[in-house]
């Protein structure tokens, strides 16, 4: 079943169904979870809760990390 997530402002469709948790999404995207913080529908998700955070169709997800800055 098709499902969609809005990740960092861009719609992404998953033809084979959604990854069930935030941890699985990061693994699919090949992003190291240890370097990332997430927001779902405007609420911060602590890294320790990634594995328990279930994903649902139409969620807005922000994946943020540190970069160089002054």
């Amino acid at each position: 079943m098709n499902a969609t997530l809005k990740i960092n402002g861009t719609e992404k469709t998953f033809d084979q169904g959604l990854p069930s948790t935030l941890t699985e999404l990061l693994a699919q995207l090949e992003i190291n979870a240890a370097t990332v913080v997430a927001e779902i529908n405007g609420d911060i998700v602590e890294r320790k809760n990634f594995a328990q955070t279930e994903l649902k169709d139409q969620m807005a997800i922000e994946l943020i990390r540190f970069v160089g800055g002054g």
């Binding site: 370097t35 913080v37 890294r47 990390r65 540190f66 800055g69 002054g70």
Partner: protein, 264 residues
Amino acid sequence: MIILSAKKPQGGKIAGKEFDSRLFVGTGKFASNALMARAIAASGSQMVTVALRRVDIENENDDMLAAIDQTKYQLLPNTSGARDANEAVRLSRLARAASGIAWVKLEVTPDPYYLLPDGQETLKAAEILVKDGFIVLPYINADPILAKKLQDIGCVTVMPLASPIGSNQGIKTKASIEIIIEQATVPVVVDAGLGAPSHAVEAMEMGADAVLVNTAIAAASDPAQMAKAFKMATEAGRIAYETGLAPRSNTANASSPLTGFLRN
């Protein structure tokens, strides 16, 4: 509780934490993480700023934090990109969730052309963040009244700008920074626009407690060498300030004796 050690040329305390260096460095604009790491080491700094951005989900992201040894350096996440108080508070909370660090360099810059800070929104965000337990270091215009308000609500430093971020123009706000230094009971960190080691010396001679430098180091042809130059400049300026400069006068005062010349 802020205690500043006036006797120590190299360091001081912020929010009860002791620093051996009065030079803070930014991590933006370096050509590579390796160059950045070498420059940070050469700077002698113990306070290192970082920013938060969206992960690029299409491309591989390298983890710049891996290049910064957090046992040696205090990480200072900034709120760069925030255009109002709400965005700055949101970024601060994300930074805390990402790093476990409650220190934040608060910057609210609605206009990308000059990147000048919005004092009203900065004060609003600072009030929320201090109440929320953050250690807040606000980036501000060289506005003595605003500096005092931020100090009074519990910010641990004030960080007036020398000139616009990344402009390398040096200290264009000298008279106002002098007033801020005279009135502040928290450390004053001169931030933004310091383009040459001579600018850092000038800020430290004026009595600034620290300086923050990014572009001038990162954009130099050899960032580690320039970082070393800024380290020496920051220490020289501090020693000169603590020693007290000799008085100025409008006429000459001979350095060599005027008596005993061959003429008489």
